[in-house]
Symmetry: C2
Subunit: 310 residues, 2 copies
């Protein structure tokens, strides 16, 4: 695979962006003293539990590469992270994956109870749309949005809604729960991965492309990158479930085999899954060619997805 | 109370609008043959289970009264009904109210299982935003939206997100689950009702006010109407739980007392709850004065909320 000489520069920048995103998220969902205060605590608990923030970092990195304004993208990046977080909360519920740990901490329902965890997920999902439309109104009120930029922002919200909904993440999720204890066809398995994990990662990449108003060629290249690394992310997750440890991952591992789930590893074996991962990362990086050095961060990010240990 | 001479006219019109809304909703969530088809069935099951459609009917009626175009409001009216439906699916879950029947039919999780019911709720909530932003893009593409009308539409989506989220419905819901088996302060009880039920009903009324771009006076009058009937709706629900029957309501009744919930009836007694209901309906109707005969449908709708038996 590629040699990434700018690894340290990448890591430093990644850290800066994670802090930037964490500060923004922390300022959005704050503790309060209304009678409904416990729901804010529950939402904040999972939102600030220290995720990798890969999706919002991707949005900011693509935005910067394309010469867009980071502050224009931030509400969408945060909204995508909120949607990702809600999906984890619901995913961990007893009726779904029944997980007790996530990111090394007790899952939301373990701390706040199932009812509040369901509502905290609903709350984060809804807040994502409040945040995006609220930021559009701000831009309108301070005169920084004309009709074309407004159209692109609406397209971005639409794109995110589709990526998060039944044509994307939720659609993949339902196939996933139905695949427990049975073997599924390879094309159904690919559909599941593209939807469940790929769609929202793709949205994180495509939203800055949409908002900064790029031509078709740029759009095609970044679609190629996003399709590949979105799928790669799930293949790597499957490999980590098979090889990783609870200590490193902060969540239970080895469940895919126990529960006879159809994953890249259980369906095709560990070696083939690793080959597929390499191949996807290579394909993704190939999509970045036209951007030259400007795409170094995104190249390193692709390698980080491949090499991550959690 | 007022005499509503136009009752039959109201009922005929209500029926026409319910059919119009049902046709629209039925065309939005259709069966399909993707690997994720079961989620579409689950969403459709609850969405088409024959609700009263009070919220979308309110939106259409207010729009007509204000001289707006019904087709401009329809996506928002349908989105609000989808949000209402998702909230019922999640509300009925074992971890929440644990209800087996809704509208005389088995609840979503009884038919599709808990995991799919959670996802079906998530799917409907997300689809509501896809629908609204998609309709904005349609309006932009066919040239029927200028920047001012676009701004009003974005304001409407923002309003709906807030009404559905932690500052509205979800906030009320969390107070509700926390009030089981304990007595809550009257102001907390009012907060709960205004949020849990009132907020989305208010949004249904205010969205056409926002989209048709009304002046402050019209807005104030319809806020008064919506605040009153939104709260009245919940008081009536509390009365029905205490007085109604499973046959009529299509769901379990008498639970508020059994579970020591804080409702208008358990806190203040049946007579006082009925007085409060009368008073709220009267206040709501008073808000309609300036609209003259044009508001007859909304007056009758207020009385319908008071007199409904399910």
């Amino acid at each position: 695979m590629m040699n990434c000489s700018k690894r340290m520069e990448f890591e430093a920048k990644y850290e800066v962006w994670v802090k930037y995103i964490n500060d923004a998220l922390s300022g959005i969902i704050t503790e309060n003293e209304t009678p409904a205060k416990s729901i804010y605590s529950a939402m904040r608990y999972s939102l600030m539990a220290g995720g990798k923030r890969i999706r919002p970092v991707l949005s900011l990195a693509v935005c910067e590469m394309l010469g867009g304004k980071i502050e224009d993208i931030l509400p969408y990046a945060c909204a995508i992270e909120m949607i990702h977080t809600y999906s984890l909360i619901h995913d961990d519920l007893p009726a779904m994956d029944n997980d007790d740990f996530r990111r090394g901490k007790p899952t939301n329902h373990k701390v706040y109870g199932e009812a509040r965890a369901i509502l905290a997920g609903d709350g984060l999902l809804t807040y994502a749309f409040e945040l995006m439309t609220g930021s559009m109104l701000d831009a309108l009120n301070n005169g920084t949005a004309d009709i074309d930029s407004l159209k692109r922002r609406i397209q971005a919200v639409y794109y995110i809604a589709r990526a998060a909904g039944v044509s994307g993440m939720i659609g993949g999720q339902v196939v996933d729960i139905e695949s427990v204890d049975m073997i599924i066809e390879p094309e159904v398995h690919e559909f599941m991965n593209r939807c469940k994990t790929g769609a929202l990662i793709k949205a994180a990449i495509m939203v800055p492309v949409i908002i900064t108003g790029q031509d078709k060629d740029v759009m095609d290249c970044l679609e190629k990158y996003s399709d590949s690394i979105g799928l790669a992310f799930q293949v790597k997750d499957d490999i980590l479930d098979s090889e990783g440890s609870m200590e490193l991952l902060g969540k239970r591992t080895g469940r895919d085999v126990q529960e006879k789930r159809s994953t890249s590893v259980t369906l095709h074996g560990l070696d083939e899954a690793k080959n597929k991962l390499d191949c996807l990362i290579r394909e993704g990086i190939a999509g970045l060619e036209r951007f030259g050095e400007k795409a170094d961060f995104l190249r390193c990010l692709a390698l980080y997805i491949k090499d991550r240990e959690k």
